[in-house]
């Protein structure tokens, strides 16, 4: 834990056992030991703080805080107390209190370098940039060390970055920072590389590119040595900003001669070349072309430069570089875009790509390389191109099944590449059903045959022929989407299960399986698949959506809880973690990383997925627990849900999902593009809005029956009562609007078919949840008749859940997995109806017993009575339906299916789906049963 000073102080000896207990997690003993010590030494403040840490860690936050404040008001200046308080405040997530602590300490000991430095870091943790600037200077005055001075300069840069007013940033903060550095430059006090980096960063932000360039090229630039090519890269950046295309061109030329494989410099070379051509640039009469040497400013020069690069490669015996060959294709593309006839001089793309394939076709990345140049081919060249490549693949004579197979892994890789290119050109999609089935057969043959090459592979390695298996699965999915035949999907799942059994580390198999099982409504197998991916930390944000999107809506509540927790734990640790490293970046002078880290922290805090799991987790807790294990208002209270507060940053939500994690060789027009991404984000945001409003409305209902007392004192007294009907009304109209938007959105989507559509909209659940949440409003006017019509809708919804999830027809097994999702939303709706009914009951109950009340009110009370009975029978109906589904699922003998001998893996997949449905039904049934039990106690 804390550093305990170098000199052995008797107090250190006394405190040591408490430190040890805390370090070992023995908080109780730490508290006891501290108490013992405090009896003898009343003034040993640090013991109090250590006790407070023990209390904090045993969940006694209030006590811990009070105790800590007792010490803090004394404004301690001993290391032990200060460090212990810092740890405590950090654990309490109150970093601002650390600043107060050290402000007091430096007041008392104004010459302490250590305390000033702690104060600076404390400000850094909470982002108090102005105070950091001052603290940095104060430090520098006490101890004139360069880093302190530059901490202060960087704090000015941070003020400029965080300033709302761009003008203020450009005319005040940055110029001030610049002057501070200039002063050091003039006094020749610049020491470290970091200081030059910071100077460059300031000039760049000021738009002073000429000055920035001078710094890099001048004597200060000589300090830029850590990063490779640091000076060249920075010069290049400035040339581009300054549009000094001649220098840009000459420098990329130089760098390409040094490394003819660095793609970024080809792009810069071409960019600058065409700018120069457009400007009709001519070299100066005498002297060098540019500060960076020779410039190419004509197509002819570029052509000859490219030909030289290629000739150099051709002259080599082996180990050819790919860069020059691909750059030639890139140049053709650019010349064609400008309708330059010279494009032809470089050769015919088909021929060039063929040559590339001959050289590099046995590399797995050949497909990635060529894919981006396929649009250089005309559609009528496609067949010719593929045939041409196929001729260059050495295959053995066809066997009995008519499939010619490769003799080694290089030939296999080549053949695979042609197949991938063929798919990318849309040739596979153009096949009819029969053609596709034939293709699958061929791919399977290649897959099986290729397994022999990987017999000695470790289980952490992939099989050489895995990609054939994956592609066959893709063709199955194509067929399934086209024909709707579930048999295609079963075959696909079987094939992938088989692939996984041969290659247990293949993440692509797992990801596709995971997605397809989810599409089938079977979440159970997904849990194992996801955990075998060993996704951790940031991956809970980038691919966690694969899990959290489906778990709850498929009725696997326990798994849903767990997967939300994984993600939430990651997001919650982010805030604390990043602050620590912002401070480290100051210490090590990695100034350019500071804004980067802050941007990263925001990206995670504003993550769409974070908002989703936060909302879903709370809803789930309410659906599972509220009014079952504890009353609704208790649950709402424990999650500190405040209906007035919208904690989702709607305008700055970040979509961090990795939507390209699944490999695809689809042709361009079928690939995921920016529009799809945008649409999916829009859809998910709408859905999140619905869910978050529903959640807040549930909070309102709870607050209606139990207006919060003064517990959350400040908040409630300031804003008035927590959930006045007015906030209920406003949330309701927001929900109604969002629902309309969502309905319109999904109608529009029907024409384009989406990946992530949610059934709750079409099944009417959302509408029903809305109308039930409207009830409390009507009840204000004692109109409980709404409950009756609500029950009617619920009954209709239940009808939509009825049907067989899995059945066997004509020796094919069919699923109606959407019934499962409908059932889950039905149960959610039942929960809401019950909470609202509970509230209605609590309002009407007193009326019933009072005989003096008007007749109408009594009638309403009677209506509610009737409604409760109908509700009871609705739940019973639902429970019966679930029971019967469970029975028929259990009785279903999938073994009776006349599956072919090789289809054992398909059978495995079916068994997994069957078992998953059963489990979902059980979890849904259990929840519904619990709800039915609470209803009994609800009756008036």
């Amino acid at each position: 834990m804390a550093a305990r000073g170098h000199v052995q102080d008797p107090n250190d000896r006394r405190l040591r056992p408490i430190y040890d207990y805390l370090d070992n997690g023995n908080n109780k003993m730490a508290i006891q030991q501290a108490d013992k010590l405090l009896k003898k030494h009343k003034d040993l403040h640090c013991a109090k703080v250590l006790k407070a840490i023990g209390l904090q860690r045993t969940g006694k936050q209030d006590e811990a805080f009070t105790l800590a404040q007792e010490v803090a008001v004394l404004e301690p200046t001993d290391d032990n107390s200060l460090q212990a308080l810092t740890i405590l405040y950090r654990e309490m997530h109150r970093p601002e209190l650390v600043t107060k602590l050290y402000e007091a300490a430096v007041r008392k000991v104004p010459t302490s370098e250590e305390y000033h430095s702690h104060l600076f870091m404390a400000y850094a943790r909470v982002g108090e940039y102005k105070k950091m600037q001052q603290a940095g200077m104060a430090l520098y005055k006490i101890v004139p060390k360069n880093p302190y001075y530059f901490w202060s300069v960087m704090s000015l840069v941070m003020q400029s970055i965080s300033a709302q007013d761009e003008k203020l940033s450009q005319t005040m903060f940055l110029p001030l920072a610049e002057r501070m550095v200039e002063k050091m430059v003039k006094e020749e006090k610049i020491e470290a590389e970091a200081e030059v980096q910071l100077y460059f960063m300031i000039l760049e932000r000021l738009g002073k590119y000429v000055e920035a360039l001078e710094v890099v090229q001048g004597p200060l630039g000589e300090k830029l040595t850590s990063e490779l090519q640091s000076r060249e890269n920075k010069c290049m950046m400035m040339y581009r900003r300054l549009e000094r295309w001649a220098e840009c061109n000459a420098l990329s030329c130089k760098l390409l001669l040094k490394n003819p494989d660095d793609w970024q410099f080809y792009l810069l070379y071409f960019d600058s070349l065409f700018h120069l051509i457009d400007q009709s640039w001519t070299p100066p009469q005498e002297g060098a072309h540019s500060a960076e040497g020779e410039v190419h400013a004509s197509t002819a020069q570029a052509l000859s430069f490219m030909e030289d690069r290629i000739a150099t490669e051709e002259a080599k015996e082996s180990k050819h570089l790919r860069g020059p060959y691909l750059a030639r294709l890139e140049l053709i593309r650019r010349l064609r875009e400008r309708s330059c006839p010279e494009a032809q001089q470089l050769g015919e793309p088909l021929e060039l790509m063929f040559q590339f394939f001959v050289k590099f076709g046995d590399k797995p990345c050949c497909i990635t390389d060529l894919k981006i140049f396929l649009d250089l081919l005309t559609p009528d060249q496609h067949v010719q191109f593929i045939n041409r490549l196929m001729e260059a693949v050495p295959l053995c004579a066809p066997g009995e099944d008519g499939v010619a197979l490769p003799g080694d892994t290089r030939a296999l890789q080549r053949h695979l590449c042609v197949t991938q290119l063929s798919r990318s050109l849309g040739q596979q999609h153009a096949l009819n059903t029969e053609g596709k089935l034939g293709l699958i057969k061929e791919l399977k043959a290649h897959y099986q045959h290729g397994l022999q090459f990987g017999k000695s592979c470790l289980k952490t390695e992939l099989q050489f022929s895995d990609m054939y298996c994956l592609m066959a699965a893709h063709v199955y999915v194509d067929l399934w989407l086209e024909t709707g035949e579930s048999n295609m999907l079963w075959q696909c799942l079987g094939l992938l299960e088989e692939g996984l059994s041969n290659s247990s580390s293949n993440a692509q198999f797992k990801l596709l399986l995971l997605l397809l099982y989810c599409r089938l409504g079977a979440f159970e197998p997904v849990v194992d698949l996801y955990s075998s991916l060993d996704a951790k930390h940031v991956q809970h944000d980038t691919i966690g959506y694969l899990l959290t999107r489906y778990a709850e809506s498929l009725g696997q509540f326990a798994a849903a809880s767990q997967s939300c927790n994984f993600s939430l734990r990651f997001f919650h640790s982010n805030q604390k973690d990043t602050s620590e490293y912002i401070i480290q970046a100051y210490k090590y002078g990695a100034f350019e990383k500071i804004p980067e880290f802050i941007g990263f922290r925001n990206r995670l805090n504003h993550s769409l997925h974070f908002a989703q799991v936060r909302t879903e987790r709370m809803l789930l807790d309410l659906f599972l627990e509220a009014d079952i294990s504890s009353p609704l208002e208790e649950s709402v209270k424990s999650m500190s849900l405040c209906p007035e507060e919208d904690d989702i940053p709607w305008d700055s939500l970040r979509d961090n999902r990795d939507l390209t994690v699944l490999v695809s060789w689809d042709p361009k027009d079928r690939q995921l593009n920016e529009e799809h991404r945008q649409r999916s984000l829009e859809e998910d945001t709408l859905w999140l809005r619905l869910r978050s409003l529903t959640l807040r409305l549930i909070g309102c209902v709870s607050a209606l029956s139990h207006p919060p007392a003064s517990r959350n004192s400040e908040k409630t007294t300031e804003n008035g009562v927590a959930a006045k009907p007015s906030s209920l009304q406003s949330l309701l109209s927001q929900l109604e609007n969002t629902l309309n938007q969502a309905t319109q959105f999904s109608e529009k989507q029907l024409q384009v078919r989406t990946v992530t559509d949610r059934l709750a909209l079409s099944s009417g659940c959302c509408q029903c949840q809305l109308s039930s949440l409207q009830l409390p409003l009507h009840l204000q006017e004692l109109e409980a008749t709404g409950l009756g019509s609500l029950l009617h809708t619920s009954l209709y919804m239940l009808e939509k859940c009825k049907g067989d999830l899995l059945e066997v027809k004509d020796s094919h097994s069919m699923t109606q997995h959407f019934l499962l999702e409908n059932l889950v939303y039905f149960v959610e709706t039942v929960c809401i109806v019950l909470w609202v009914s509970n509230y209605c009951g609590s309002v009407l109950r007193p009326l019933k017993s009072s005989l003096q009340k008007k007749k109408k009110k009594k009638k309403e009370a009677r209506n509610v009575d009737q409604s409760f009975s109908s509700l009871q029978s609705l739940l019973n109906q639902a429970l019966e339906h679930i029971k019967s589904q469970e029975l028929s699922l259990t009785a279903l003998e999938l073994g009776a299916l006349s599956l072919e001998a090789e289809a054992t893996f398909t059978k495995t997949a079916m068994d997994k789906v069957q078992s998953s449905y059963l489990r979902s039904l059980q979890e849904i049934g259990e929840l519904l049963k619990k709800r039915a039990d609470t209803l009994k106690s609800l009756k008036i």
Partner: protein
């Protein structure tokens, strides 16, 4: 001698959102955010990523400089090196290692070292080809999670030009325990 064809640049935080194709490999560890941030804050020049022309991340190397100069133990260390399956067999790992060695040379390191699972023959052989040799075996360096036994590591080293006599790479006669390494 290499066929990399790529853009090599400094790794940034945003790359953490894009590196799944590299990190879903079973031998590549995805660390907690603090771990990456620590390297980015302290040794940003040692964290390099390779990007393909289509924008896909191909692989990355993450390293640091540490050790006492006085005891001639100042050296570059390879913490992580990984290449996505589709970008293997291009010499990318070798290129990234070469860059790390170059940075370590500039910092005046005596050698570069790395730890590798004894079972990871592919990697061990690659490092041998790049001039690394086994300096010592570290017993049970990798702890297993799923009930399997812990695994030993090779500590492999390559001398840099500052170590003219190549003293730093003379193999130790006996294996060491994780708590004995610095």
């Amino acid at each position: 001698k290499l066929t990399v064809m790529t853009t090599l640049r400094a790794f940034t935080c945003d790359d953490l959102f894009k590196f799944n194709n590299i990190n879903l490999d079973p031998l590549t560890e995805t660390y907690g955010i603090p771990f990456y941030l620590q390297y980015l804050a302290h040794w940003p020049e040692y964290f390099i990523v390779a990007e393909a022309p289509g924008g896909e991340l191909m692989g990355y190397i993450m390293g640091k400089a540490e050790g006492s100069v006085a005891r001639e133990e100042w050296h570059g260390h390879v913490t992580a090196l990984s290449v996505a399956p589709e970008f293997r067999r291009l010499g990318l790992a070798a290129k990234l290692m070469e860059m790390l060695e170059e940075i370590s040379e500039r910092k005046g390191g005596f050698f570069v070292d790395l730890f590798v699972r004894v079972s990871n023959q592919v990697a061990v052989n690659m490092y041998k080809q790049l001039g690394y040799s086994v300096y010592r075996t570290v017993i049970e360096y990798y702890s297993a999670s799923n009930g399997e036994p812990d695994e030993d590591a090779y500590d492999m080293r390559k001398a840099l030009s500052r170590d003219t006599e190549k003293k730093s790479i003379i193999p130790l006669p006996h294996p060491v325990r994780p708590e004995d390494i610095e």
